[in-house]
């Protein structure tokens, strides 16, 4: 029986899809059977970030509407045997997602996997509320920046009100994933610190993903960063976060990339 995890944020562009792909891959690398589900109907991108864009035949809406079986729509990752993608539809609009249909698909996925990770679209409309509807657990992706923190607060409110679990009176387990974090800028008082964000949102921290060039490189290649550069700072942060999702206790660190003296100088000058 799977744990259903929604990766959500309210605000767009904070790293939901990257985090879904990286956490999904990290859990699969740890031997878990994982399905990642793209709920961003009309603007799908999880297929692209996972490098499966040319292998999509059927999608979530085909399965919801009964035009395809789940087994026909699931795409197995070429590199990780236990990682599967259920893509969103690129041509249909999200009105085609019925709540009964989504409930049926989620129930079927629960029986097949250890983890079902739902990549939520941005916003608080139907796509986002359907993505969180059946969640047991939520990862709220937040950048240390005012608009992202505000939107995360709004999404936390929705998770406490609009999910099946909330309606049963047992809250969704919420985790904060802080992404694009720059420890040096936070130290200089130029960026909200981890402590600031935690104090404002008051939900437990699952990981801190440092700002890194490897994240863009990974999406350029269509390979989750935990596979494309497993020793890089963001990959180690995602791998640790995946262990914590499984209930393990690890010390919270902000991994850093080793950089040579000249690399450091160069990076400062460009910034």
């Amino acid at each position: 029986m799977a744990t259903v995890l929604v990766v959500t944020s309210g605000k767009g562009g904070v790293g939901k899809t990257t985090s879904t792909a990286s956490l999904g891959a990290a859990l699969a690398q740890q031997g878990q059977k994982v399905a990642v589900v793209d709920f961003d109907v009309g603007l799908r991108n999880l297929d692209l970030v996972l490098g499966a864009e040319r292998r999509v035949v059927y999608d979530l809406i085909n399965v919801v509407q009964g035009d395809a079986r789940l087994s026909q729509a699931l795409i197995r990752d070429k590199r990780l045997d236990s990682l599967f993608l259920l893509p969103a539809s690129q041509t249909r609009d999200k009105e085609a997602l019925t709540s009964e249909g989504v409930a049926r698909v989620m129930a079927e996925l629960r029986d097949m996997f250890d983890w079902v990770i739902c990549d939520s679209p941005a916003g608080i409309e139907k796509g986002a509320t359907l993505a969180m509807r059946h969640a047991d657990m939520a990862v709220i992706v937040t950048n240390p920046e005012v608009s992202s923190v505000r939107d995360s607060d709004r999404i936390i409110g929705l998770l406490d009100a609009k999910t099946e679990r909330a309606e049963r009176g047992e809250p969704v387990v919420k985790h904060l994933l802080l992404t694009r974090y720059d420890a040096a800028r936070a130290r200089r008082g130029e960026m909200l610190t981890t402590e600031d964000v935690l104090e404002i949102l008051s939900i437990p921290l699952i990981g801190i993903i440092p700002e890194s060039q490897e994240v863009l490189r990974a999406s350029n290649l269509g390979t989750p960063v935990t596979l494309s550069a497993p020793m890089s700072a963001p990959a180690r942060a995602y791998i640790d976060a995946a262990h914590r999702l499984r209930g393990e206790t690890l010390p919270m660190t902000i991994p850093t990339d080793k950089r040579g003296f000249f690399g450091g100088i160069f990076a400062r000058r460009v910034a």
């Binding site: 005012v146 505000r150 607060d153 409110g157 600031d196």
Partner: protein, 90 residues
């Protein structure tokens, strides 16, 4: 711009933190408010109807926010005929 200003400009994170804390306190209160008002309204009706028969449409509960203070306004319309009867009974 002098050297002091340059350093001041750097520490923008505490400003962000304070703005967020104030904003979210208001937004969370606004999210909670409809439920609180509905609860107050039900309990006020229950208390009032022990003595005077009033319907849901006669009770109006609202809040107004003015600067640092919020006011809770409760309006209960009691039909004159009813009031007369209560006074006679008392």
């Amino acid at each position: 711009m002098n050297v002091f200003n340059m350093f001041q400009k750097r520490s923008s994170a505490p400003v962000a933190r304070e703005r967020l804390q104030i904003l979210l306190a208001h937004e969370r209160a606004a999210r909670g408010a409809p439920d609180l008002l509905a609860l107050l309204r039900e309990e006020i009706i229950a208390v009032v109807t022990r003595h005077v028969p009033v319907g849901h449409e006669n009770v109006n509960v609202t809040t107004h926010r003015n600067g640092d203070v919020s006011t809770l306004e409760i309006n209960i319309d009691i039909p004159n005929s009813v009031k007369a009867r209560v006074i006679v009974n008392a």
